[in-house]
Each structure stands twice: as structure tokens, then as C-alpha cells.
Amino acid sequence: MNTLPLLIRREFWEHRNTFVIVPSIVTGFLVLMMLTMFAASTSDWVNLSIDIDEDNRDAFIVTDDVVAYFLSELDDMSERRRVSYLNQGLQTLGVPLTVILWFVVFFYLLACLYDDRRDRSILFWKSLPVSDAVTVTAKLVTALIVVPLVYLAGIAVLQLSALVFMTLGAWSADLSAWELLWGPAELFGNWFQFIAVFLFYIFWALPFFAWLTVVSAFARSVPLAWAIGIPFGISIAERIFTSQSAVADWMANHTIPVRFMGEHGASVGDMQAQMFSLDMLSAVVVGMVLVGCAIWLRGRADEI
């Protein structure tokens, strides 16, 4: 019998707060904020009397008429600029949830093979006929695939709400919502890109994620200190003994999401180039070895 879906449900029972409640609250809060902004926008659309200082556009002007301001901007633009402007805006809406997601995944993986040793419930889980390999796999799949999809759903709700609010604004200003908003907004493209970037990141940073499960499986206390301390120690040792930083750079490169975005871009084309690089191969190999270690350690794990 395939137990993986059940094991993933189990993770959601345990971590309902960070997997479901937190993204729901954040999404709800941001939708509410947008709604307030929209409601605060006066209906005086025809005279778009916004204090736009044309000479100093960087000085972002917060007025009650954010929606109107945004629409007028879009209306003035060429079609090509409109597409990139609008989609950048939509992507920005996803930033808070993406950042929270990263921390949720980080702390979840760090705790997933540690907490049940600590509260001794490992003796219950291990009394059931589920192999250690399936257990560890379920936790990785939960963290790296299922939970990101939940957060993506939140992002999608945010983006759709923003478009709906602005559509209402466009209607009352007699602008074409299709031309300004729904046409240029590449929603599916955005979501596809989120998934593609995340998939890429899963493999690119597999050593990092797998390392967290390894620490979670062996640490007898303070897993966070082990998770950070050992790579840090390796980096320092490398610096002292070889006065180089190849390993340290590799580790940083395959950990920090901003760095990965910066160097390789988040565009699908750039990722394709990296997909079959030696760098990527090294990450996948090291990652798989570490996953194997985590499974092995889990097999020997006992209450602490």
C-alpha cells in the first residue's frame, strides 16, 4: 500500500498552524489591506488628481488613491512596459508569503526528525510498519512540494484579489480592465514560474534541505546550533588550512535563496542553462547522500 499521502496528511495534522493557518492569515490580512486601500480610494476617477511629482518619481507618494495612481500609470505605458510593470507588481505581492515559506520549511525540516525523539513519540511512530526511508521521504516531500503549493495558492489568491479590486477601479474610471489588467497580467506564467523556480531551488539547494534533516535526525539538543555551526566550522577550517573558500562558497551558493536568485536569475531560461551544469549535479549528488544519511540515522534513532 502506498502510505505516502497518509504520512503527508500526518505532517499537516501536526503542523497545521505553520502549513495552513499562517498563510491563510497572512493572505487574509493582505487582502483586507488591499480592500481598505481600494475602499479609501475616492470615486473621483475622472480627475485623477494625484500629486505625482514628475521630476522625482522615486519619491513614492502614498495617497489615498493608490489604485487610481496605479491605473493611470498603466494607462500611460506602452504595452510592453505595462506587461513587465504589472507582473512585477504581481510578483511583489508574493514576496511576504515566499519569505515566510522559506522560514517555515527551514524550521520544519530542522524539527521533523528531532521533536518526536524529544517527546518520545518516536516509540509510537516506530511501532508502526512504516520504513525509515518512507518516513524521511514523506517529510521532504511535505516540506519541498506540498507546503510550497499551499503557499502558492495563497499567493494566487492575493494576485487575483488585487486584479479584481483594480478591475473595479478601472470600471469606475471607464478604463478597459482587460486591456490594462487581465490581458497583460500573465497569471499562469507567474505561477508556472514560481513552481519552476521552486523546483529548481529544491534540487539546487538539496544539500541544504537534506542537511537540515540530517541534523534533525542526530542532534541530541539545539539542532539549530548544529545546523549552522558545522558548516560554519568547515568554512573556517577551510580558510585556515587552505586559505581558500571554495567549499564555503559552494555551501553558501547552494543555501541562500537570494544568492541563488542573484547569480542565476529567476528566469526560466537561466535555470535551464544551470539545470545540467556540474554545479547542479554536485548539489544533487551531495543532497542524495545526505538524504541517505538522514534515513540511516533515523533507523538508529531512539528517544532522547
Binding site: E14, R120, L123, F124, K126, S127, P129, R300, D302
Partner: protein, 282 residues
């Protein structure tokens, strides 16, 4: 039918400490075995070895398999309750049942519900809302709904009050035991489980010091209330234990024919508790 468990000379060290020393025993189908020893004697290590939860040296078969190779395969035929309170605190009662049912295809939902109905546990409660005794009841209900070859109980009632303890063992014997499933119970409270047992395993300092069926005890061991005039003669038969009882000595002998013992005084079968004390002090 072959044995459910065959343990052949297993040893286990924790650094300098020898937790198990060349432990050998069998568990036959349909037996209820008491694994009895003081704290730190190696009870839990023995049971954990049987369940594939810890590594060891030597040879062992549980339901025909080496537990070190495939814990999850062994667990298809074995259930385990480690002392009270190892159920995850965050889980809801109904989810614990749902999870166990999906993992164990043989989980009998009706049986679980019937067991639960006899307690005050509600299915929407979380484990952390239950008392210690209720958590044990829930765990027992989960385990009793699964049909297995071997049930392993490691100090299952430690820290519970006497009402829960009695009810636990009554349930186990009346509702669960069907003469096909074997049960191993580890404890250091001998008296409580004595009436249940078909076999005794005493363990001390990592070694098995007694391995016999309950109905063999009367053949092997005899306790004699020896009056002072026979003390010298009794000592000659090398009693394994002696204690003072109202001016007489209650002595336990091993492998001495009944007639010889009768000549010393009043003979009866030693209680498991007295036998335990005798074996532990030797």
C-alpha cells in the same frame, strides 16, 4: 508451530556498560511471558532489540525475520506499547485511529470503537488533553484493534494508579489474549502480573537468570519453612535463598527432590516475588 521469537546469544554495550550479555531465550506462540528484572537490568534494551529499535550483536529472529534488517516488516506482525505517554501529544484521538487503521490493513475499527466506548475518551480530544491513564487506555485500544502475532509491553502501567493498572491487565487477558498471540510484558512489579503469566524470564545485570514455564516452577523450586533444628541439614542442600519468618527460616531450593524437602519442613511453591528476590540476590 515454530517460535515467534528466537533470541540467540545477543549482547549490547553502551560504552563500557554491558547492557546485555549473551542473552538467549525463545517465545512460543500463545505464551504470556513476564520479562522481570530490576531497573537497569536490560529489560528495555532486550525489548528494543526485538523491535529493531536498537542495534546488537548476536542472532535473533522475530516472526522469522531479523529485526535489524527490516523494522517495518517486523512491525506488521508485532505491536508495541512503550511505557505510558508515547502517543504524540498533538494528535487527535480520531486521527490516531485513522492513521493506525491506514497503516495496518488488519485494524478493526469496530473493536477500537467498542474499546473506546468503555472509557471516558472522546474522539475529538487531543492526546494532551487526556490523563496518563486515559492515554494508556487509548494506546491499548489502538493496539487491541490490530491482529498481530506478538504484543510487546514495556512497563505498560508504570505511574498509573491501581484502578487503571488492574483494568489494563484484565482487559489484556479477557479481551485480547486468544492463545495465538504471544505477549511479552516487562515490569519490575512482579505481583501484579503473576496471575497472567505462562512463562517467566528473569533478567539481571544484562543476563537471563531464570527462564521457565510457570507450571515448571513447582517442579524445580520449593520453598520450605524450616524450623531451627533442621537449619544445618537445610544449609547442606544449598538453598538459593533464605529469610527469617517468625523464628523459622523460609528457604528456597532449586532442583531438590520433593521428599528431601518434605523432611525439612512444610513445603510449598514459592511466589514469583520471592523467587525473584532469591534470584536477584544470588
Amino acid at each position: 508451530m515454530s517460535n515467534i521469537v528466537e533470541v540467540r546469544g545477543i549482547s549490547k554495550r553502551f560504552g563500557d556498560f554491558e547492557a546485555l550479555r549473551n542473552v538467549t531465550f525463545d517465545i512460543a506462540p500463545g505464551s504470556i511471558v513476564g520479562l522481570i528484572g530490576p531497573n537497569g537490568a536490560g529489560k528495555t534494551t532486550t525489548l528494543k532489540s526485538m523491535l529493531g529499535l536498537t542495534d546488537f550483536e548476536g542472532d535473533m529472529r522475530v516472526t522469522g525475520q531479523d529485526p535489524r534488517r527490516g523494522r517495518h516488516q517486523v512491525m506488521e506482525r508485532v505491536c508495541f506499547i512503550a511505557d505510558v505517554g508515547v502517543l504524540p501529544r498533538w494528535i487527535k484521538v480520531q486521527d490516531a485511529a485513522r492513521y493506525t487503521a491506514a497503516i495496518h490493513p488488519g485494524f478493526n475499527q469496530d473493536r477500537f470503537e467498542a474499546m473506546l466506548a468503555e472509557t471516558k475518551i472522546s474522539k475529538s480530544q487531543r492526546v494532551k488533553q487526556l490523563s496518563k491513564g486515559m492515554v494508556t487506555q487509548l494506546h491499548l485500544a489502538l493496539v487491541m484493534a490490530i491482529e498481530v502475532d506478538l504484543l510487546v509491553l514495556d512497563e505498560p502501567t508504570i505511574g498509573l494508579d491501581i484502578l487503571y493498572r488492574k483494568a489494563f491487565y484484565e482487559k489484556l487477558l479477557n479481551d485480547y489474549f486468544d492463545h495465538e498471540t504471544s505477549i511479552v510484558i516487562s515490569t519490575h512489579q512482579v505481583e501484579e502480573i503473576e496471575p497472567l503469566l505462562t512463562h517467566l524470564l528473569f533478567i539481571n545485570n544484562g543476563q537471563i537468570v531464570l527462564d521457565c514455564a510457570m507450571d515448571e516452577i513447582s517442579e524445580i523450586y520449593g520453598e520450605v519453612l524450616v524450623p531451627p533444628e533442621n537449619w544445618a541439614a537445610a544449609d547442606g542442600l544449598d538453598p538459593i535463598h533464605s529469610r527469617d519468618v517468625l523464628g523459622q527460616k523460609a528457604m528456597i531450593f532449586e532442583n531438590i527432590p520433593g521428599q528431601e524437602l518434605a523432611a525439612l519442613g512444610e513445603v510449598h511453591v514459592p511466589s514469583v516475588a520471592d523467587l525473584f528476590v532469591a534470584k536477584m540476590q544470588r
